[in-house]
């Protein structure tokens, strides 16, 4: 039987029959590209001229002194074009779309980063573009909707289900089953049916390849730990992939929301509310009830607010290769505040989960050791969300006055 992307029993491709042929084509084109050395060169060339690769590895001296433990390095995926690691996956899939000769792309988006990145890619390559976004996310991420539309994408608010990321994925699939001849679905994370988890991780592995080289250059040894936030899991898979074969502890940080016992979180690998299931075309841990109906999730970070998780990370949970933790909304906001004040860096709320967990642990490590935190995205463009999270009174006043002016 052909490879169906199983690892420790997670993964697979649970597809409606109408899409089977489309996935066979995608799998074939991806294999060919992966086996072609010129393709990776084309990809890195594109990323170094259109995005900002290689992204730097920043030594965080003030934070290191503050905690008095391991030396803290930050991998700067926030410096990608469009402000997050999402660009890595999107540009890679864009090259595959060209190889397949398709003319239209569709994508889901939660926080809006993946939608903006896809709209950018579509503009550059001349593809038509439709972005599905839950109505709740459209409301909390309006600036990203503005940019997607300006970039020429059609943004469709999804009013079904819980009206967030998972519902946007369902709607993108519904579009795709009718339009697969012309259309490629640019899935934004290392989830979904095979070969998406592997394909997205492959493009994101550029993060880990660079980080490995950069830390060796600086420290002349491997870091003790690498931290990444985990929504769907693509930035984590990306940076972890550079260190899988090394004696490095890999730490994935999920959205603890209001706390793991509150029922208001998005932790699939650390909480008792999750169990193994099959949805959205793949088998992994889902936040679901005993009947198999998906639960509502919560996180201060829209990009982590998802019921499932990469089957590759579920596999690393099972075999113990990655340690998973959860950071609460409050811990995340505190970590973000500290990072801004001490380093002048503004991580996205998603990425700040990785910072929050690292801050809990670095003091235990010795000064000879190093850790890397993946700053998967930048927070300054999420000013509305972050200002809300900080409950900044002057900002509220500004919004009120701005609204009055708009009405006038």
């Amino acid at each position: 039987m052909i490879d169906r992307g199983y690892h420790s029993g997670f993964g697979g491709a649970f597809l409606p029959e109408i899409l089977v042929a489309t996935f066979e084509e995608l799998e074939r084109v991806f294999r060919e590209a992966k086996g072609d050395p010129a393709f990776w060169r084309e990809y890195t060339d594109l990323m170094s001229t259109y995005s900002c690769r290689p992204t730097p590895l920043t030594y965080a001296g003030n934070l290191t002194r503050h905690f008095g433990g391991a030396r803290i390095y930050i991998k700067r995926e926030d410096l990608n074009h469009t402000g997050a690691h999402k660009a890595n996956n999107v540009m890679g899939q864009g090259l595959l779309v060209k190889r397949m000769g398709k003319t239209r792309v569709i994508a889901e988006t939660g926080a809006g980063q993946h939608g903006v990145a896809t709209a950018t890619m579509a503009a550059k390559f001349g593809f038509q573009c439709t972005i599905y976004m839950g109505e709740v996310d459209v409301e909390r991420q309006r600036p990203n909707v503005f940019w997607m539309e300006r970039l020429g994408a059609q943004v469709v608010p999804v009013r079904e289900g819980t009206r967030i990321l998972k519902d946007a994925i369902n709607e993108a699939f519904r579009d795709w089953v009718g339009n697969m001849d012309t259309t490629h679905y640019v899935l934004g994370t290392a989830c979904g049916p095979h070969p998406y988890p592997e394909m997205v991780s492959y493009f994101q592995s550029i993060i880990g390849r660079e980080a490995r080289e950069q830390i060796l250059e600086r420290e002349e040894c491997m870091p003790s730990r690498v931290y990444a936030c985990v929504g769907g899991g693509s930035n984590a898979m990306g940076i972890f992939s550079g260190f899988l074969e090394e004696p490095v502890e890999l730490v994935g940080v999920e959205a603890g929301g209001k706390g793991l016992r509150s029922g208001r979180h998005a932790s699939r690998l650390c909480s008792a509310d999750a169990s193994v299931g099959v949805a959205q075309g793949y088998k992994t841990y889902f936040l679901q009830n005993t009947d198999g109906q998906m639960l509502e999730t919560h996180s201060v970070a829209a990009g982590l607010d998802y019921v499932g998780v990469s089957p590759l990370l579920a596999h690393f949970k099972e075999n113990g290769r990655v340690r998973f933790e959860a950071a609460t909304d409050q811990e995340v906001v505190e970590a973000l505040a500290l990072t801004m004040r001490m380093e002048g860096l503004i991580p996205a709320l998603e990425s700040a989960h990785a910072f929050a967990q690292a801050f809990k642990e670095v003091s235990e490590l010795s000064r000879d050791e190093a850790v890397i935190i993946n700053q998967s995205g930048r927070g300054d463009k999420d000013i509305f969300t972050i200002a809300d999270a900080f409950e900044d009174p002057a900002w509220k006043d500004f919004i009120r006055k701005k609204a009055e002016k708009t009405h006038a």
């Binding site: 089977v20 042929a21 089953v177 009718g178 697969m180 099959v278 949805a279 005993t290 009947d291 998906m294």
Partner: protein
């Protein structure tokens, strides 16, 4: 068993009708009234959909029905009880239709055992391709149930053969690309597709997706064994209530 039933019944009728309802929508009581009405109006088989929160193959009408049923508190246990009740009360075969997670979480083996105990005849699971279905196939066979599989217009001939080799009862032929409930063009292209399906299997053929009136069904006579009506009756129920559904089905023959 479903295969024998369909072939026997086809001696009297040139096309059979299978309808689809979403259990618990708008309520279990109404679901029961719908079954009663449909059986009285001459439906030959029925698909009972256990609602799921992520029905990716379904269009807006059935999606909405799934969500409303869940919002009203529908559980798998209630669906099982309901199915057992109607299977005992009415003389036509009933099948479950749902997404794989419902079976998986229940335990595939236990799910099949319950179906058997309650008198259901088969199941349709649209997100479970044969490649992922080993455990399901074993369980269905063990409990004497028919796993109905799906052909689509994008399925190559060789794959149709492979699917037909594991499918039982009949083959569900999806008429076109897209989700349930959109318009289907009943054209020569569809006729050629059905002829291709016919060549691939000796199992009865059921055609679904977009079948919505007498003209569509007349088109299918002689080309398919079963016409499947899904979205259209839900739409009619929403708009005109149970009497509209009855009049519609009676008008199809």
């Amino acid at each position: 068993m479903l295969e024998a039933y369909v072939k026997e019944r086809r001696k009297e009728r040139d096309i059979l009708l299978m309808t689809h309802i979403v259990l618990g929508y708008p309520s279990f009581e109404e679901s029961h009234n719908l079954v009663k009405t449909m059986v009285e109006a001459g439906v030959d088989l029925m698909e009972l959909q256990i609602p799921f929160s992520e029905p990716i193959a379904d269009g807006p009408v059935i999606l909405h029905a799934n969500q409303q049923a869940l919002a009203a508190g529908a559980t798998v246990k209630q669906c099982m009880d309901f199915a057992g009740d109607v299977a005992r009360s009415y003389p036509i075969p009933f099948l479950f239709m749902s997404y794989y997670n419902i079976l998986f979480k229940y335990g595939v083996e236990r799910f099949a055992e319950e179906m058997n105990r309650r008198g259901l005849k088969g199941a349709i699971v649209p997100d479970l391709p044969p490649e992922e279905a080993n455990g399901y196939l074993r369980a269905m066979e063990r409990f004497g149930l028919d796993p109905v599989f799906i052909f689509s217009p994008t399925t190559p001939d060789t794959r149709m053969g492979e699917i037909a080799a594991v499918g039982r009862g009949f083959i569900y032929c999806v008429a076109r690309k897209g989700v349930t409930g959109l318009d289907t063009h009943f054209t020569r292209q569809l006729e050629e597709y059905l002829a291709r399906c016919r060549r691939a299997t000796s199992l009865p053929l059921a055609l679904g997706f977009g079948v919505k009136n007498r003209t569509d069904i007349d088109f299918l006579r002689g080309k398919a064994d079963i016409a499947i009506i899904g979205t259209q009756t839900i739409r009619l129920m929403d708009e005109g209530g149970i009497d509209a559904v009855r009049a519609f089905i009676e008008g199809l023959r």
